[in-house]
Symmetry: C2
Subunit: 407 residues, 2 copies
């Protein structure tokens, strides 16, 4: 087994029963085999030799921007070459309100942090390629990291694959297979089982995803901590809850390592059209499945939740916020007014913050909203074209006047 020497990862640990652990390889991509039931699949996470972490070295100022490898001790072995993922900026858009702009990643979404880790797992098990079910950011990111690692990539996309995302996936050489939504997981599972592809997205009835994936998201917490210390609260766009869990786990580790004196509240920000996590919390169950109504927030509107989100909310005291498309659009507009063009789903973090009354917001530290992805990925992009202007000054002046720019 090839491992990078820097990783202190020791085992896969079950979220279904934290007393249960398994070797690091092979990654248990269908959940914890001993705790899963017919109704719920429990994910795994990684455990580390935390007592061996050199925190001073790990959090020292960095000379060069090196991607996730700078956090290698607290990540799975990073066998797959990187693309300089992570190290995204925090942009303060209002006093004490910071946006962590994940559109600065290699494929312009947070998913790159996950795929650096999952593609590494695919190399570790000698897979010929990876498979992913996605109509957007996850697929594109998987395709990029597979290309970089010399692996093939098969993307089981939804039938509603936005044309620009199709171009995006195809550019990296991925095999794109648009199939009906309900057929994606069963077909992907067959491809995985029959042809030795390594799955980097979910295969189970409630979401487990890949055990290595959310580990990559922990680095979001490390970076926030380096930039502003421990925030009072973090608002996370939430689909399956992997980012939510990763951010929570990262802060938990900072606390465990004696670097942070507390763990912030981590709030989930789901589309109101579905919201399996809010549903699970409401029902008091480990994971829920829901019907998804009409929404443009295609990146977070998930019919399937998972146990990770429940753990992150319960342990951090976070709330399960749900946002309408109108609230998402208002938050997206607020981001744009501040120079950040985000995908509708990516604005869920800020929408979640804005959905609370001022009295509900803690005042003992900065508030951080994660913005996961760029505005280029929305479906309506490119559908509207500004009418040409006659190339004469009076017409230009008329337009400027209409915009309040000439008086």
């Amino acid at each position: 087994m090839l491992l990078t020497p820097d990783s202190l990862a020791t085992a896969q640990r079950s979220l279904g029963d934290p007393a249960l652990d398994y070797p690091l390889l092979p990654p248990l991509t269908t959940g914890c085999p001993r705790t899963g039931t017919e109704d719920v699949a429990y994910p795994l996470e990684l455990d580390y030799a935390y007592d061996k972490v050199d925190t001073a070295a790990l959090f020292a100022p960095a000379a060069a921007r090196t991607g996730l490898e700078r956090w290698a001790p607290l990540l799975p072995p990073l066998l797959a070459p990187g693309l300089g993922e992570g190290a995204t900026p925090l942009v303060e858009i209002a006093p004490g309100v910071h946006v962590k702009d994940e559109s600065r990643n290699p494929t312009w979404s947070h998913k790159d942090r996950l795929n650096r880790c999952t593609t590494s797992a695919a190399l570790a098990v000698g897979a010929r390629g990876i498979a992913v079910a996605s109509s957007g950011n996850h697929g594109a990111s998987a395709a990029a990291y597979a290309a970089r690692a010399g692996l093939r990539c098969v993307v089981f996309a939804g039938p509603d694959l936005p044309p620009a995302v199709d171009s995006f996936l195809t550019a990296y050489g991925a095999v794109v297979l648009p199939v009906p939504w309900e057929a994606r997981w069963p077909l992907m599972r067959q491809a995985v089982e029959r042809y030795g592809l390594h799955p980097v997205s979910n295969l189970t009835a409630t979401h487990t995803g890949h055990p290595y994936g959310p580990e990559g998201y922990k680095t979001v917490a490390y970076e926030i901590f380096q930039d502003v210390g421990t925030p009072a609260a973090v608002f996370v766009p939430t689909g399956y809850g992997e980012l939510l869990y990763g951010v929570w786990k990262g802060f938990t580790e900072l606390h465990r390592l004696g670097l942070a004196d507390r763990v912030p509240r981590i709030h989930s920000c789901e589309s109101a059209a579905g919201a399996p996590l809010a549903t699970a919390i409401g029902r008091g169950v480990p994971a829920a499945r829901v019907e998804v109504g009409a929404t443009s927030a295609y990146s977070i509107a998930s019919p399937v939740g998972g146990y990770r989100g429940v753990v992150a909310l319960r342990e951090s005291g976070g709330r399960a916020l749900t946002l309408s498309d109108r609230q998402l659009a208002e938050a997206r507009a607020e981001l744009a007014r501040n120079g950040l063009w985000a995908e509708l789903s990516a604005a869920a973090g800020l929408a979640g913050l804005r959905s609370l009354d001022a009295s509900e917001l803690p005042d003992d530290g900065p508030l951080v909203c994660i913005s996961t992805s760029s505005g280029f990925k929305d479906r309506e992009v490119g559908r509207r074209a500004t009418a040409p202007v006659a190339p004469e000054w009076p017409e230009v002046e008329r337009r400027l006047r209409a915009a309040g720019l000439a008086d």
Copy 2:
């Protein structure tokens, strides 16, 4: 006059005659008034109190990612709020070949480094807004920085504005005015003169652009130097030559400050469809105008060159490389195979490197190609859609087999 205390900028200096200098404000956006002729407009750059630079502090490892302000002493006063621009990664795609991925900026192109500086100038002169002529990255970046600074933005776009770029510009609240190419500069000049808009793109017959703009691009050189020291050569996608000049100037400053022992060769990489810089070099003139043939490289295919490019090539011993669309497409494909989806124009740096024989490449240091922007910005994006797949395993297997993934 408001100035940030950190800036050591002292004056505007003429490139037409470096003995001529002018106060920092107002920015001379129509070139050096004393050296320009009917044929050539000479740009200005900024001079600094180089003897006051604390190089040890300036190049110390950084704890947080703070955007261009970390280089504030060697930049114009940064009055406009930032978006965490810069600090983009170098990705090694072949032994000794590094790609500086500028698509990691706030609006996913290098232009953000320029617009942080030019928008700061607009604030310094109390402008009500900015104006820019652009059908792509420059316009979007200007729109974002204007929004962030609370300024209006008017974009004089070409008639061929890609629909996705239209969405991009509009999202930030810019006033978009698509007009015929030849009408853009005259109309923008009128808007600037009549309504107090500050121009952040060119207004002159040969290119001068904004004096503050290329100063922002110097930070590309600083970052490369921090990451890999002084490269043997840098290959720069070249339209008007502002990025080319900025990168050259940045390395020149590092040499002047005693940090680097030499200045690398800086090669310009133009579209063969136009190539005003190669034309100027061939003719031995300070700047040329050319006819632009058919090309998809819309971001770099410029009919107008400027003197900055001539200076950068002459002083660094760089070559004026010209690339066909086929060469650009091959370089774009090589980048994608390495996980980087670039705009066609953005691949010009790598295309330039690949256009040289191995014997022509220096071996005394790393080779760096700048990739300026993301693949989302090409015109053909979203035009092709992958055909849906019947949701049955035999059909999926057939597709996998066709892709060489099932055997």
